[in-house]
């Protein structure tokens, strides 16, 4: 089946991103297609490359980046949610006059339409949050 996964919370504070990651990984391993992973609300904070988690804990951000690379995943960060919370790529930095970017490898920033498109194009949507 074709799946869209929605992640509503950031890394570490809630388990939502962990659960979404393991679900996505398991779906891929079973041969399903992940149409898109959409990061909304504080979920956009999964897409910063500036984290340095303790060495004895998992690296939530890198794990998503690596899964994306391995499976050519489409990891989309909602632009409106990202602007409220400070997740920035080159385009956003230029548009909003920011002097730095923090987006991590494998993520891209786009509009909420991408979530609706995911729902329309996929067989199932699974939401992970608080």
């Amino acid at each position: 089946m074709k799946l869209t996964v929605q992640v509503n919370e950031g890394p570490y504070q809630h388990q939502a991103s962990d659960s979404a990651y393991f679900f996505t990984k398991a779906a891929l391993e079973k041969g399903h297609e992940i149409f898109r992973v959409f990061f909304y609300h504080d979920g956009v904070n999964n897409g910063t490359r500036l984290t340095t988690p303790p060495q004895d804990d998992r690296n939530v951000v890198n794990r998503w980046s690596e899964l994306a690379k391995e499976h050519d995943l489409d990891l989309v960060i909602c632009v409106a949610a990202a602007q409220r919370r400070g997740i920035v790529d080159d385009g956003e930095a230029e548009r909003n006059g920011k002097d730095a970017t923090n987006i991590a490898d494998g993520f891209r920033i786009s509009g909420l339409g991408q979530l609706i498109e995911g729902a329309v194009q996929s067989d199932r949507v699974v939401v992970f949050g608080d």
Partner: protein
């Protein structure tokens, strides 16, 4: 049409399980993940909410919280993430009671 209801909150902390079980219809499955797994523990006052429902629970979340399978109420199936994916596929739609 049958639904997969997902509950990730402790029934002692939030009202999610209580509402979710009110929405479970015949043929639906209730999946407990994260702190939601506490609902399935024997002897807890929340476990009565699960009576008569088809309930699955995430094994890795049980283990993390130190809940041995013999502490679960009867009739619960323990799944892994592959089982979670199968449940999503088996049902027509999913509803996450956050």
């Amino acid at each position: 049409m049958s639904l997969l209801h997902i509950v990730n909150k402790s029934p002692y902390e939030k009202n999610s399980l209580n509402t979710a079980t009110g929405y479970c219809k015949d043929g639906d499955t209730l999946l407990l993940i994260e702190d939601g797994v506490y609902a399935a523990m024997k002897g807890g006052s929340a476990s009565v909410n699960l009576e008569g429902l088809d309930v699955a629970v995430m094994g890795s979340d049980l283990a993390a919280r130190g809940i041995a399978e013999d502490k679960l109420i009867d009739g619960i199936s323990v799944v892994d993430y592959a089982g979670f994916v199968d449940l999503v596929e088996a049902k027509d739609s999913t509803q996450s009671w956050l």
